[in-house]
Amino acid sequence: MKTLRTLSISILLTIFVLTSLSALAQDAPAAASAPAKLLRTQAWDKEAVGLFESLAIQEGGRIKPLKTYADVLLLKLNGRRSCRDAQEAKLDGTQWLMDCLFFPDSARQYKMFLIENSDVLVDLGLSYTKRRDRYSYDDLVAARTLLMDRARTYSSIEAPLRRLGQTQLINLATNMMDFESLTHALDVVRMRLDLRDTGPFSALAAGTGPQPVSALFPKAAEFSVALQALRQGQAQDPGHAAAMRALNPLGEAVDSASTLSFIAPPATDATSEWRSLGSLAGQLFGGQTPPADEAAVFSTFEALADAAPTPAVFTEKARALHTALAVRAQVRGEYRAIGLEVLYHKADLVYYSLCFYVLCFLGVAASWVRPKSLLLYRSDLFLLALPTVLLAIAIAMRCTIRLRPPVTTLYETILFVVWSAIVVCLFIEWIQRNKLGLSMGAILGMIGLFLANKYEVMEGEDTMPSMVAVLNTNFWLGTHVTTITIGYAAGLLAGALSHAFVFGKLFRVDKKVAGYYRPLDRVVYGVLCFSLLFSIVGTILGGIWANESWGRFWGWDPKENGALLICLWQLTILHAVRGRYIRDYGLHLASVFGAVVVAFSWFGVNQLGVGLHSYGFTSGISKALLIFYSIECVVMALGVLAWGLDRGPRAENPTEGNLA
């Protein structure tokens, strides 16, 4: 049996041959009439949406629910996981995807192409009302040719030399193509082929008229022979032009239908590659009949497409399809985490955690106004602990879905850093009970999860991607990556806590009460020690991993160097404190700089684009990093200013005899 790859090549070749032939068919008349528009008139049935969101597909090298695919794609196009239909009703990712598949003409009207900068529209000669706005496909389609031309031109410019507007235009072109392929993904099950009077294909015609593609599956061998005859024949042959008119859309539909791979191969099959509707229909071009069970799935899709305007029938067909597809995946053990992943997205615990951290922040602000209210203090504690538990559940769900340790991608480092830092904050609060840990936890939770959300939108990709070969080890991901990430978290937390010192000094907070600064000194020192422990052990573990996979413990690779910089800076601070070269101001200013070092190590070195840690390279965050570095420099400058202004007697060594 031919492999799918060989098959797809043969399809492409066939399409190419057919396209070339069609160019020769000068006498081919234009299409008789435009097909009726596919517009949704009723809301989607909830059960049908539920069935669709838990359909398993293979995409990006892994099995995932259709909901994940839909949400991520919509996030990429629209900057959020939902959009509004033409009647302004809200649609989630799955409903939007179902519209794209079953009612493409409706989907083309939705304003879900987010254009951040109107310069892109000016470049395309389109009008605009707001600098940042959303547009529908129908709004943009008039400039499609120009858009693609411009995108080709801009793509030839090296990425670092491109202007932001040029990059955004390329992204828009990619998004439009992604959308187009989705709206044509079910053309192959919607189309009806009329093969009457089509020369060599006439023998395949159904007596009564147009037929679905699945009706041709039993006649695949004859189809292949007819195709051969068509290739060898002449444009002037009778029926040639009609055959071209019938087959060209089929070739295009087969191509478009390869976007989504719904059909798991049999458990006994050697390949782990799932089949798409396109790959099934494409077998016709190779003269092969798809296996009966796969052909049946294809027919169910045809029935489903037909039933789209009738919600009750559609749901019934969707039920049958879901069962058929889920059983195939279950037999291979590939449906294990689909339900959990759907639940992960629907529960949206990361978003709710962010909301609770915001509430906690407001509560903490209120408790500073009413410092003696025990009720307020306790509710703030609850509002910090609850989202931390929710975040832990979200991280645990991700681990269960992927069967991986908590940190495997940059996005996950953000979640884990935030969670670890807040756990340390809760510990600080438990020891000190002075609202320091509480306040810092609320602020870090709020900022951290906001950034996690921003990062997810910026990347516009699945946050649970397949792993490159070198990362394919749970032992090292679980030890080195987790440890070093806790080191990052504590380093950032120490820097954040030192902000409280700098601003406290600058604004003379609690100047006359000794109970504000001394505990802060001790906490920062303690958190730095904690960070150093994890950073050093994490860095050395990273070296040991490198020794296992690349053959050397230390190679001065930028990512390794970044981790070393954190260790060296923290060692400097702790030794300088012990040697009494720095006291309170020195400790806190150095700790703020430590946060800059952590940011450089965490994200900054990834921007350099060199080294072996290429799987961690990122782009597009240089601006955010520069802003962070600048803010921290300003904080340090303010700290120096406060130092100058603080004419009081110097505090004693903050840590002597305590933690060091």
Partner: protein, 385 residues
């Protein structure tokens, strides 16, 4: 005695530790940025494996700095002496002392790796057996008497022996039983073979000469070259060119014997052989992303065969050598094509030192910080009660 004590205190001081940490911090940061334009190899040589260096700040301001080698040597002394000082402070500082000794172990291990380890790659086709590996960086000149029945007998000159003979300086080499002396000159780690345009310029051999080139960012892309003169015990000197990319070796016939002279990457023989039975490259389905690289090899030693799998993160360790899955080819192979696998080979006597150091350091730090935390909590509890 007083001076000795002062020196000891200085070498073990927090102040020296801070200065060394800051210097190493600076070197690490500058060396990281330097890699972007100059590559890892150059950055490593300049910043981390040097005694002193001159850093060009902003491209024009020269700043002399101590190199990584010097800083880390001093840090080793500081850590060791600092560790002994902490020991004197009793069990409370035991954790710090243990951490210091763990760090010393790590630096000592790194030094052993730096001085003693060597490595290269073993590139092997499916079905083929190999019993030697090739250096990534080092060159050697090999002289072979191809007219002998055992042409495998080779006379070797390692790069360390001729690397200094750049420009006009010449090195002379003798091999007891060979009827000639060799002279090597104008060695350069990166050269281009050029056709002579006629007048002036470097000496030519058969109308060609070697032109030194700036070294590539990636050291493996350099093509070394040198001028050679074969001086027979009797007769005329025979000049030639040795070039890393030469298609065939330079050869000379003397007394009816043919000798070949070749400049090639250094080869290291192994006392056992590896046969590549199959190379497997799996992608994540439907993508171009690699999921697994796997070399199924057979180790042949003393007539005994053993089947072994080498994958990413799971190397083969044997007789002090470690074989890692590094690369594969051909790049655009189709199913059924004969594959080759590239195994990186390292011999490092301190291979496992980082692991033991890590355990010692972690033990020391955990002990110290937990102790400090408990003491702090105890004090706080006493205060509040």
């Amino acid at each position: 005695m007083q001076a000795l004590k002062k020196t000891f205190n200085f070498l073990a001081s927090y102040g020296l530790a801070c200065v060394l940490f800051i210097l190493l911090f600076l070197l690490t940061f500058l060396g990281t940025l330097y890699q972007v334009d100059h590559g890892l190899f150059a950055a490593q040589k300049k910043y981390f494996e040097s005694i002193v260096l001159v850093h060009q700040a902003f491209g024009f301001l020269p700043i002399p700095l101590p190199g990584g080698y010097l800083v880390m040597s001093l840090l080793f002394i500081n850590l060791l002496l600092g560790g002994f000082l902490r020991l004197r402070e009793g069990w409370v500082k035991m954790g710090v002392a243990i951490t210091h000794f763990g760090m010393c172990m790590l630096i000592a291990g790194s030094y052993i790796t730096f001085r003693e380890s060597f490595g290269g790659h073993l590139t092997i086709n499916e079905g083929e057996t190999q019993s030697e590996f090739v250096s990534y960086h080092e060159w050697e000149v090999v002289v072979t008497d191809v007219s002998r029945p055992d042409a495998a007998l080779e006379y070797l000159i390692q790069e360390a022996s001729f690397a200094r003979f750049t420009g006009e300086s010449e090195g002379t080499f003798n091999f007891g039983d060979l009827p000639f002396t060799l002279k090597l000159s104008r060695f350069s780690r990166n050269t281009a073979l050029k056709k002579s345009s006629g007048t002036g310029g470097p000496p030519t051999v058969d109308g060609y000469y070697l032109e030194p080139q700036p070294e590539e960012r990636d050291d493996e892309s350099n093509d070394a070259g040198a001028y050679i003169q074969v001086l027979p015990t009797q007769g005329e000197a025979k000049p030639g060119l040795l070039w890393g990319q030469a298609r065939k070796p330079f050869s000379v016939v003397l007394d009816g014997r043919t000798f070949t002279f070749e400049l090639r990457k250094r080869r290291f023989p192994l006392s056992f052989a590896l046969r590549l039975d199959k190379f497997t490259f799996e992608r994540h389905p439907g993508t171009m992303m690699a999921k697994v690289y796997r070399s199924s090899v057979t180790k042949i030693e003393g007539g005994v065969e053993e089947a072994i799998e080498i994958t990413m993160n799971e190397p083969l360790r044997h007789l002090g050598y470690t074989f890692y899955q590094s690369s594969y080819g051909p790049p655009n192979a189709k199913p059924g094509d004969r594959m080759y696998s590239v195994l990186a080979v390292v011999r490092n006597p301190a291979d496992q030192v980082p692991l033991y150091s890590c355990l010692v350091i972690a033990l020391g730090m955990v002990a110290h910080f937990l102790l400090a935390l408990f003491r702090y909590l105890k004090r706080e509890t006493r205060k509040s009660s």
